[in-house]
Assembly symmetry: C2
Homo-oligomer: 247 residues x 2
DNA sequence: GTCTATAACTGGATAGAC
DNA sequence: GTCTATCCAGTTATAGAC
């Protein structure tokens, strides 16, 4: 019943080794290395889409292989187990997007020069995400839907999300602490929790809002949700984090 | 690759019939009928917990049977397929909770007598949920975590959530339309979408906020998140739904 | 690096006895 | 209503040829 260990064990119980990105060679990649990277990415692209839609257990190694148009043996050759493909999907993009968000927040902090606002901080945190959304890239869309699904799952919503995202979140909370003098930690953390839920349900792209609004709103309409999310969230943060007047 | 049809088909392709709650007999239930209901509920309780943690595909019929301490054949006897157990889990509680919310909102509308507020409407919508949370009931906790997971999944977040919850949501939006004169539909729907994300991530109970806050906040602390969710959400709604002054 | 073949096993589902 | 036994398709994973 313990899915994690069950799925990372080989049938025989032995540990296997497998091809990563074929060493960190600084020299120009030869033909084989280029092919490796290409195949690896084909698999990751396919996995991103399938896992986002059906979750880890709803996808088989054959599904992955078929969707990537490669042989099942290659999936094992490059990644080992199915669970390792799942983790590799998270790893591939999270570094990039987190770096962009760290930079965006640092840039904002410099520009604001001591005069930080809640809106400004939230905007700096979100802007790199919206940039990606605007590209309308299938891969990015799938990745963010996958993160959204994982976030609300008991299996991955705790430790795994913390592992990948706590650093950027603590950076945001630091900015907000400066923007709202006297804010206390519990209020800040709960407000962030509610904010993250809003962001995630939007990124999940389930088509729900189309149904609820009878097509008046569209899930992937960044121009519609971007400014609204910033305004809604900023008002929420202020409402519960700004110290109330009391003796 | 189409999980839904694949899982609702029998191996042979034939349709089977199976025991529901053994007819809607109005007469007092005899021993067998009581046993039926009991076994059915044992299976549903087990399913609620397992599906919440691992999703439909992460749980096997054998897992369900073992956890409920019944035979696998009984799972099929009562529900047909695994997917039908999944749906039955949703069905069992959604009627009850939705009814409580409809009543709560109607009661509020009467009491407010034309003087509706955003806080009041949000509170009336949420109070029955918080009541359940306060009971600290395992079954309810599992059910709401399951709903939260389904909500952010591409497979069930659209149609299935609409099917079970759109009615109460439209009732809430009607109240809010009255509380905020001049609010337009797009703003209301987007605000609701963000609100639902906040609520769902809390109900998902993933232990995330414990990790993020280094145990300063606790996932299941209704007293901590209840009033904060109401305040945060009300401020958000007002920020984006109240008409802006313009010529 | 890639493909074929296959071992080893899991999982959904049902027939039929009790 | 419940349990035993079983069918067999589908699944992960690997050995070994190319």
């Amino acid at each position: 019943m313990d899915k994690t260990t069950a799925s990372t064990r080989t049938r025989s119980g032995r540990k296997r080794s497998y091809r990563g990105v074929t060493k960190k060679s600084k020299s120009a990649p030869n033909k084989k290395e280029r092919q490796s990277t290409k195949t690896r990415n084909l698999i990751l692209d396919a996995a991103e889409g399938l896992f986002a839609r059906h979750g880890l257990y709803g996808v088989t190694v054959r599904d992955l292989a078929d969707s990537a148009a490669v042989d099942t043996a290659l999936v094992h050759y490059y990644f080992g187990t199915k669970t390792e493909v799942f983790h590799a999907v998270f790893k591939r993009r999270s570094g990039t997007i987190n770096e962009a968000r760290m930079q965006s927040m640092s840039r904002y902090e410099e520009e604001a020069a001591g005069d930080l606002t809640v809106e400004g901080a939230i905007r700096a945190f979100l802007e790199p995400i919206f940039d990606n959304d605007r590209q309308n890239d299938r891969g990015w869309r799938n990745y963010s839907a996958l993160v959204a699904m994982a976030n609300n799952s008991q299996e991955w919503g705790g430790e795994m999300m913390s592992q990948y995202f706590d650093k950027v979140i603590h950076r945001l909370i630091d900015l907000l602490r400066k923007a709202i003098p006297g804010a206390n930690d519990q209020d800040l953390y709960w407000a962030y929790q509610m904010f993250s839920g809003s962001l995630m349900v939007i990124q999940a792209n389930t088509g729900r809002i189309e149904l609820l609004s009878k097509r008046k709103c569209r899930s992937d309409d960044v121009d519609a949700f971007g400014e609204r999310l910033i305004a809604y969230t900023s008002a929420g943060f202020k409402a519960i984090c700004e110290p109330h007047e009391s003796a």
